[in-house]
Symmetry: C2
Subunit: 199 residues, 2 copies
Amino acid sequence: MTEEDAEPIRRRPGGRAARVRQAVLAAALEVLAEEGVARFGIAAVAARAGVNETTVYRRWGTREKLVLDAMLAGSTEGIPVPDTGDVRTDLAAFARALADYLATPAGRAVARAAALSSDDPGLAEAWETFWQSRLELAGAIVERAVERGELPAGTDTGLALELLCSPLQTRALLGHRPIEPDLPERLADTVLDGLRGRG
Amino acid sequence: MTEEDAEPIRRRPGGRAARVRQAVLAAALEVLAEEGVARFGIAAVAARAGVNETTVYRRWGTREKLVLDAMLAGSTEGIPVPDTGDVRTDLAAFARALADYLATPAGRAVARAAALSSDDPGLAEAWETFWQSRLELAGAIVERAVERGELPAGTDTGLALELLCSPLQTRALLGHRPIEPDLPERLADTVLDGLRGRG
DNA sequence: CACTTAACGCAAGTAGCCTTGCGTTAAGGT
DNA sequence: ACCTTAACGCAAGGCTACTTGCGTTAAGTG
């Protein structure tokens, strides 16, 4: 099991390589947003980046890996996590922001791309951590609510966010049905109080 | 707006045509379950059905349409809808059955196929009605609960099922994270009583 | 049974995706 | 400034999905 001690293989992170990388990743995000996942091709990305096709194939190999890398590198900023002091307001606002994002071409494309590449175990795990890191940020909403006494101690943060976000993601993924304006609020209400209502 | 009166184009639903159709659709479901969506190809389906590739291309045109047609024709039976007299038990059992189905290769493949072909407006609408018809059957669980007084009148049946099923669908679609054994029950509990619990 | 033609099989051809070999450019060390 | 070589561009080739033209089979009709 030789790790990497046998061959030093000095990399060259500076100058041209980094420039090419940035250009390709930026172009990938643009093509993804404009053309969608189905028409997303290496050729289009390479042309827009002003780079030869071969370079993209050698560095990334497949469409799926390129999309994943572009997402990991490009979208460091995520959905804003509100903090108004009220759980219901926070959850509704976050759900609304997520719904708006998923309504954009880029948002749709990202969700589709993740669904596409979930066959490969390695890529699926990478996407999982990607989503996980995003949801952990929003977990603060639930945790703050527990501290304020709005939610009981021991509340499952992951389950709460999954219930809130999954309906939106599912609609974006496999439906053509649009997300109604009041859906985020109704989701927040039901997640908090259940179908039976309060009391 | 000529409907279909100009060209009668007498179809031939009997005999060979129907035989070929059934063979291809059955083969499509098999290939879909065994190879997955990514490796799903017209050639493999045609070979397994004992039919020439050209025939499949001429009748269905694209992979997406073939998968959709195979699903619509092949899986008339859906997830069993329990009726135990208790909402919580019914919802948990249905969620569990759905989770089990999504864990099978065929279930995963179906979900992925729907996500793939949701770019085409026509196909997306067809898939939407497909899911819709499945969820309407399960809607009986909520409606019966309302009649029994377990749930308040005016309960949103669609929202209830969406909250119950979406987390399972989302995990199957874009994660590698498995569905924990107790997840269906926890989903049913939270959907009914909310994060704040009962009382 | 004879006739029309929808539906199928066969084979050749096209196009897009991806790989490979080789020469060239430029980054990083001496 | 010089050398080594990682990284890129170019061009040719292979592979797979898909299309098209044409002859053949068999379903439906009188």
